[in-house]
Symmetry: C2
Subunit: 152 residues, 2 copies
């Protein structure tokens, strides 16, 4: 990971579909050498994948929320986790320390759907308590800019 790799990484976070030719021009290397560096970044796990970023609002799911959940004690957390991830509107989930066991990120069509989801949780998934926080705004610069900054 030298300075050139850092520039490559920054560019690929900004535009994951940039051609090796343009990337090479940016770092003043040949396309071949550039492609090889990208391959190694993937092989070493620094780049874990390339993804299209989907706007949930444009897909009719403008209401995002964090749902913190606490599960009933027991040895069946693996099954409960899997069940949580199949719920409608659930985008992702994280096991965290503290008062809550998990924080789910959800994207709902409207408040009715969110209400339904929050009401359904304690009924069927071993959830004993929830706390819902609406996402009002994602701060600008989240994501691409952050990686560039962390790389120095």
């Amino acid at each position: 990971m030298d300075g050139i790799d850092k520039v490559i990484l920054g560019e690929l976070v900004r535009d994951g579909r940039v051609s090796f030719r343009d990337l090479a021009e940016r770092v003043r290397l040949s396309p071949t050498a550039t492609a090889e560096r990208v391959r190694k970044l993937q092989e070493s796990g620094v780049i874990s994948g390339f993804r299209a970023e989907v706007d949930m609002t444009a897909l009719g799911r403008p209401l995002k929320a964090f749902i913190d959940v606490r599960l009933r004690p027991g040895p069946d957390h693996a099954e409960l986790e899997a069940a949580l991830l199949t719920l409608p509107a659930v985008l992702s989930g994280v096991h965290v320390t503290g008062r809550w066991d998990y924080t789910l990120t959800v994207a709902c069509r409207d408040v009715a759907e969110l209400d339904e989801l929050v009401m359904a949780l304690p009924r069927s998934y071993g959830v004993v308590e929830t706390n819902t926080r609406l996402l009002l705004r994602e701060l600008a610069g989240s994501g691409a800019e952050a990686v560039t900054r962390l790389l120095g």
Copy 2:
């Protein structure tokens, strides 16, 4: 957004660098028609971008945490927000409802760096209270799978 667009979206979330030729084969369309659909998905905002996904652990920042913060009242939240996003280790931030104003996601080199960050917050950024939760595990299937599921 017909069924073909949904398949295209799913494939592009799985592999953002797949060629139009392979994508076309998958949906049994010509590469030209496929590329045109992708272009329209971008133009309509459904696809907001293509990004390389970076593994913070492979970059020497294995310790992820949510830091919930409450800011002092005042009209200067815009500046404070900008300042928060320039902090070392901060990946992203979200303005949320509830007891806390923001939830920051951070990736630290070690607990010492996390401690330093949490101690620094109330000193210089208008932060009056924080709550830190370590990310123990991101549940499998977060991301790509979720989009496919939400598309039906």
